[in-house]
Subunit: 574 residues, 2 copies
């Protein structure tokens, strides 16, 4: 890999790019664009922005990611979770629909772009690992419910806002008298159609004799069919006069950016929210990218992904849109449309631009209730109760973490939910590592193997006791070992030698070193010698020059067997 | 150990308590009381409270700890760090000297008592482990400097307050014109005397023919000598008329508690500070208790310590005093006075009470500058720059944590300092575990041992690759393994079997399980089988029923040797 390829990954595929590749990619991007337009508009509505903003977000951001990202198949643009997060974070600052609200969405995109690039420069991508499986699972299920409930207002044609379930429900109750019956009927029809098409379109097309791939791809066109059908109906029968909300006039000009609404104070207030969007977006995007890459034995570089997504978000900000990231459903569309290289992303971006410039009048009569129906159907699949049950069987503690995240997101808010979830994950992990498994071991007769005295019938010596610690030694458990050893010594007054067997210790930090020195000191004053066995190379490298080893009352043995042999002889001599 | 002994540890020593024990303990407590009186008064001044409050804190709290704590030698009462913390936390709420300030100190004691007992009930004592070595070291050095600087106002006879170095310095500059020359001279004499007595009293007494133990004990009486000498001088020559501040009238009545100043709102505001005091106090106390217990092969039960210290703090609150904990210098006094059992603590408490009731007039002319000198001398020993150098050699990262804690405590505040330090410790630990050591291993020729291919000349097979992960698998590094494996697979297209050797994996959480399933899925679609070897018992117990093992493409082998043998045969057959 050349240096140029490292910083500009597009070089890797551009240099071998052929005319045939271009043909495949051009066809794929045409299909992807058609499928992505209603999705992008829907997500813009979800973010509390005009539908057209969804198109803005799919142009330059998608092109930049294709040039600077490392995935061959990931499609970048607005996705459900980050759109929802944008709405939740922006809502307390401005009224959806206002120019100030739009400016806040742009600032969020700008700041999360900055965060992503900073994380790349500081190699801090590992911070995203803090979002453990239970936290992500609880967060996504709760967000999906919030999104679905949030879309409900579009389905019944009322105004409602809220950061959590209670606020949303209250707001909806307040407006319940405004329910628009034609909108409700339209939504019901759309949802039914969407479900039916999703389930039966592919099999029916297959039965009609279409090739499997073609059938499967056309099968994904359900939302497009529903959009075209309902838009035509509304247009022909002027259903908008019955109170059905439509997308309406979309200016076909390029966006303008209200720089006068960008203030440093607001930016500072938006920092935590933007950080959360960038982390959640990054985690989601990388896992989608990896799942596609693995199937093709391709490689994803998470640090370069930070750059690609960061640039995409900066571009989103300067496209007057809102935070973007790599999405599963966008990428599925891309892949099943036959995308071969990131060129599809570039071409899709250009086709979006053409749509924006010339074809927006086609969307004039598109009912927002239909966009909402489509989003609701796709989002409800993200609610995963089985995962909770599976987790509950595996670990009650982690299942509790999932539940806590889920309910806090649902009833208090997304940011608090993530903070509670991450804190619980850390707390449980610390609890676990600070209650390490420690075993007194003895030799299996006739072997060089040493096993737990409580599980095996092993040989022991009252004067030479070996302890195996099954955990890294660091601040969270340093004093636990201290307690354990000192209690052991106070109960077995015969002990002359204590061996710490360290084959499962992968790190020792200063706090643990401190505790080990304390243990050594206290054993010394109790007349017991402290020895070590089977310390791993990297750990020993760090200990070599330490005062622990310099002042150690006993010895460091390479293997446990050598330790017992040497000390038994010593005892016999004494 | 009987159940009664578990909840009432005093039973353990009370049942064998003899008349001789009582004689030794009575003598020890008499000496300890004389030595502790000036110390306790000094700490009360440090906490911003009247000197007499230090005596209150040494009565019932000391007695309760002696009955409910598990250490035989620990002395509980006011100590430097928690007194300093009390001042820092209470200062923003009320003016030192006011009745409201005293009420806040009591509420802090009450709340930290509640926290300690709650931690005991919830078995959350492990939370104190979060205070890693670098955090404690940085915190104590910075606090010692703050305490010394804070005492400076008493040494020069001015008024000054502040939460950090800058505030203290500013405040002192403001009052610099009030410097009282006689006070400065008195302080200089006291400090010189204290240093000389500390260094030369014991050797001189030894040379004069005193027994070593007696000489060493009397050697600790330096502060008492200085107190008696200076108090007499001030009384005889009426030096207080020159502006030297004296302790003055101490009401010899028992304290009254200003319940009317206890409000729920203030208590809620004090929660974080009280939590910090209880954690810092607990950590300090337990480590002192353990260092004494180990020398005598005695046992400390940290959970029961929480109860003992919790009750002591509740008692401190209802004695109209301030937070207490087990202290090193108090305990040294106790031990060198010849204390045999916790009875010394009980008797010292009773003697304090007698002092309070009958002997307070003796302290009328005691100059506060002398108390401050004594505290300054003892506190400066806690500043430990060598520890920083030692840590720096061991781990640059941890040394940075120490520095950050130190400077934030010094220039911003104690609470922020602790929070920054703990966050950095966690961050560094997560950074470390999320960059685990992963090695591709091969067989050392002619053995059953498998070692790193980069360090040893080992046998490998291009189709069967073994990876050893030297770390627990959990959320912070789950995706790292995913990246590593997928990158490996994308670079070595010959691989047919991948073995994960898990001898250093002590835990697998749900996030890691998830990643392992993802790895298995992706390897499957790349035509590679995934196997495990040397999974530990407790880890295997958790995995047995999981979908990972159910759906695993490969097998789970007990040892790495068996895995290679079986797979090599399989490959040969294929």
């Amino acid at each position: 890999m050349t240096k140029l390829e490292k910083y500009f990954p597009a070089m890797a595929w551009l240099k071998g790019y052929s005319r045939e590749d271009m043909q495949t990619d051009a066809m794929a991007s045409l299909i992807a664009t058609i499928l992505l337009i209603p999705q992008s508009m829907g997500y813009a509505l979800l973010a509390g922005l005009p539908a057209v903003v969804g198109l803005y977000a799919g142009i330059i951001p998608a092109i930049l990611y294709s040039l600077f990202g490392t995935s061959r198949t990931l499609a970048v643009g607005p996705v459900a979770i980050t759109s929802m997060m944008t709405a939740t974070i922006a809502m307390p600052f401005a009224l959806p629909g206002s120019e100030n609200y739009a400016a806040i969405a742009m600032m969020l995109a700008f700041l999360s772009g900055v965060f992503l690039i900073l994380m790349s420069l500081l190699k801090m991508g590992f911070l995203s690992n803090l979002l453990s499986h239970p936290v992500i699972s609880g967060f996504i299920s709760a967000s999906a419910i919030l999104i679905a409930v949030g879309q409900f207002k579009h389905l019944i044609g009322v105004q409602a806002h809220g950061n959590n379930l209670i606020e949303l429900a209250k707001s909806m109750m307040l407006h319940s008298k405004d329910i628009n019956l034609p909108t409700v009927i339209l939504s019901a029809i759309s949802i039914t159609l969407l479900i039916l098409l999703k389930r039966y379109l592919t099999p029916v097309l297959s039965k009609l004799g279409l090739a499997k791939n073609t059938a499967s791809m056309l099968g994904k066109a359900g939302p497009v069919i529903v959009v075209v059908a309902t838009t035509s109906c509304v247009a022909v029968f002027s259903l908008d006069s019955l109170g059905i909300k439509i997308v309406g006039d979309i200016s076909n000009s390029l966006p303008t950016i209200p720089f006068e609404n960008f203030t440093l104070d607001t930016m500072i207030d938006l920092l935590p929210g933007a950080f959360l969007i960038s982390i959640v977006g990054f985690v989601g995007s990388v896992s989608v990218a990896q799942s596609f890459a693995a199937k093709r034995k391709q490689d994803i570089n998470p640090n370069q992904e930070l750059v690609g997504l960061g640039l995409a978000n900066l571009a989103a900000a300067f496209s007057a849109s809102f935070p973007v990231t790599g999405g599963f459903s966008r990428s599925v569309v891309n892949v099943s449309a036959g995308a071969k290289t990131p060129m599809t992303g570039i071409l899709t971006g250009l086709l979006m631009l053409i749509t924006l410039l010339f074809f927006t009048p086609l969307f004039y009569y598109l009912p927002t209730a239909v966009l909402a129906s489509s989003i609701t159907i796709s989002i409800l699949q993200l609610i995963d109760f089985k995962d909770f049950l599976r987790l509950y069987r595996f670990s009650k503690q982690e299942a509790l973490g999932l539940l806590a995240t889920f309910f806090v997101v649902l009833f208090i808010g997304m940011e608090t939910g993530i903070i509670v979830g991450v804190s619980l994950s850390l707390l449980f992990f610390l609890w676990h590592t600070s209650h390490p498994h420690i075993a007194v071991v003895g030799r299996l007769p006739g072997t060089e193997h040493f096993r737990n005295v409580n599980r095996f019938d092993v040989e022991t010596d009252p004067e030479i006791v070996t302890i195996r610690i099954d955990e890294n030694l660091f601040f969270a458990n340093a004093r636990v070992l201290e307690d354990y050893v000192l209690t052991l010594i106070s109960r077995h007054k015969d002990i002359k030698h204590l061996i710490l067997m360290c084959n499962a210790v992968n790190m020792i930090d200063a706090s643990a070193l401190d505790s080990l020195e304390t243990i050594d000191d206290r054993l010394k004053s109790a007349g017991v010698m402290l020895h070590f066995s089977e310390i791993k190379g990297p750990v020993m490298d760090k200990l070599t020059d330490s005062s622990l080893i310099e002042n150690l009352s006993g010895q460091v043995f390479l293997t446990q067997h050598q330790a017992i042999k040497a000390l038994t002889i010593k005892q016999a001599d004494a």
